[in-house]
């Protein structure tokens, strides 16, 4: 492969933002080099590739860096035409995908982080807010799965599938650490079925971080965060 067309992904194994990009590259069958960054000790390379945010993921293609996970996903979709189309052709359907992808990545993720960072009574209210947002997504999913049955194969995965599985594929980890049923089959039945169908796909299951490794990591992060917020 010519040096110019080489693809490199700078990531961090627990990051759902980096995971999204990994999954997208695999779906499209794009050969790439993966560079694991230690975010507590960022490499000079990362700092020079993403000077604005100094974060992962960064995708480098044709010698040029692209940052911001959703921006990278759109770039991948526009550049490599093999594999599933991450965004549909129809403008209205594209808008729906973009709307919900942003909702998952910002609103839902925000709610989960708030729950993780809070203890006691205040936490209950935040858990309820998180459920409310999940319910909104569940409702929204009806337009994607009109017959109520999300059956998915890798040839037809889309951007929203990739985003959601990256954030919530390890939901059992979050449930174990946070002590509440993040994906409740009664509260959000469609999300529950959808996630189950996604996790049945070997490509996704294998790309997500292993359960125990993730539990240990999240526990460590939560403890550090709580310590620093009460210090």
């Amino acid at each position: 492969m010519a040096e110019e067309s080489k693809v490199t992904l700078y990531g961090y194994w627990p990051s759902p933002f980096a995971k999204m990009v990994e999954i997208a590259l695999k779906l499209k069958g794009v050969p790439y080099e993966y560079v694991e960054e230690d975010l507590t000790n960022k490499s000079q390379m990362l700092l020079s590739l993403n000077p604005v945010h100094k974060k992962v993921p960064v995708l480098v293609h044709n010698g040029k860096p692209i940052a911001e996970s959703l921006v990278i996903l759109e770039y991948i979709d526009e550049t490599w035409k093999n594999g599933p189309q991450l965004l549909p052709m129809d403008p209205y359907k594209r808008a729906q995908v973009r709307f919900w992808a942003s909702f998952v990545q910002q609103q839902l993720q925000d709610s989960m982080i708030k729950v993780a960072m809070t203890e006691g009574e205040a936490r209950e209210k935040l858990v309820e807010e998180a459920y409310e947002k999940m319910r909104l997504l569940d409702e929204g999913l009806k337009s994607f799965f009109p017959d109520g049955n999300p059956s998915i194969d890798t040839e037809h995965l889309g951007l929203l599938d990739v985003v959601f599985v990256s954030f919530f594929g390890n939901h059992k980890v979050h449930e174990e650490v946070l002590g509440f049923k993040v994906i409740d089959p009664e509260k959000t039945p469609l999300i529950h079925c959808w996630l189950k169908a996604l996790l049945d796909l070997p490509l996704l299951k294998e790309t997500l971080p292993p359960h125990d490794k993730m539990v240990a990591f999240i526990k460590f992060i939560n403890e550090s965060a709580l310590k620093s917020s009460t210090a």
Partner: protein, 221 residues
Amino acid sequence: MGEEVKVFRTWSSPFALRVVWALDLKGIKYETIYEDLSNKSPLLLQYNPIHKKVPVLLHNSKPIAESLVILEYIEDTWKHRPLLPQDPHQRANARFWIKFGEDKVFPAVRDSLLKQGKEQEEAHEAALESFKLLEEELKGKKLFGGEEIGMVDIALGWLANLVSVLEEVLVLKFIDEHKFPLLSAWMRLFADIPVIKQSWPPRDKLVTKYIAIREARLATN
């Protein structure tokens, strides 16, 4: 052509203005529906049940919410007078700066308005840091989109009139001509483009609005 395009907005929402500008630049005809956010219409609640906010674009009876999602929809639907570059890497760069505007610039400026004391100082500082990066990005260009307005200019366009309003309301400098010569020049250039100029909300009403917002917020603290 018989396409039905409607824009739900308020007189002053900077997010709704983005949609107005994009449609006006592409010469799309639309009907405007002004909302009173203290008394939201049933239609608005029906079309944007998740966030219950403006702007909402209605096209052939289908609603789209979230201003940046709407901008991409407008770009996907009406392909003349493109707002994004053709090249995928340049498109990614444009989207990067749009996101930067949303995630870094806007919250810092908003918090400068809504907070006081040390929190306001920190927000103001963060805003200045974000302007430095915008200044860098403008090097060699007169507009973020190059020679013509692009989606980045539209997404950041709220700076071009709100900054001076907030500088008056807060008695705080944000974009100093000497510190940010390129950004200042961009703001003047953008604000004067006819399609943009014709849609600025009245300045005195904006000053009144933001003074009231700040007072209300500080009173609840």
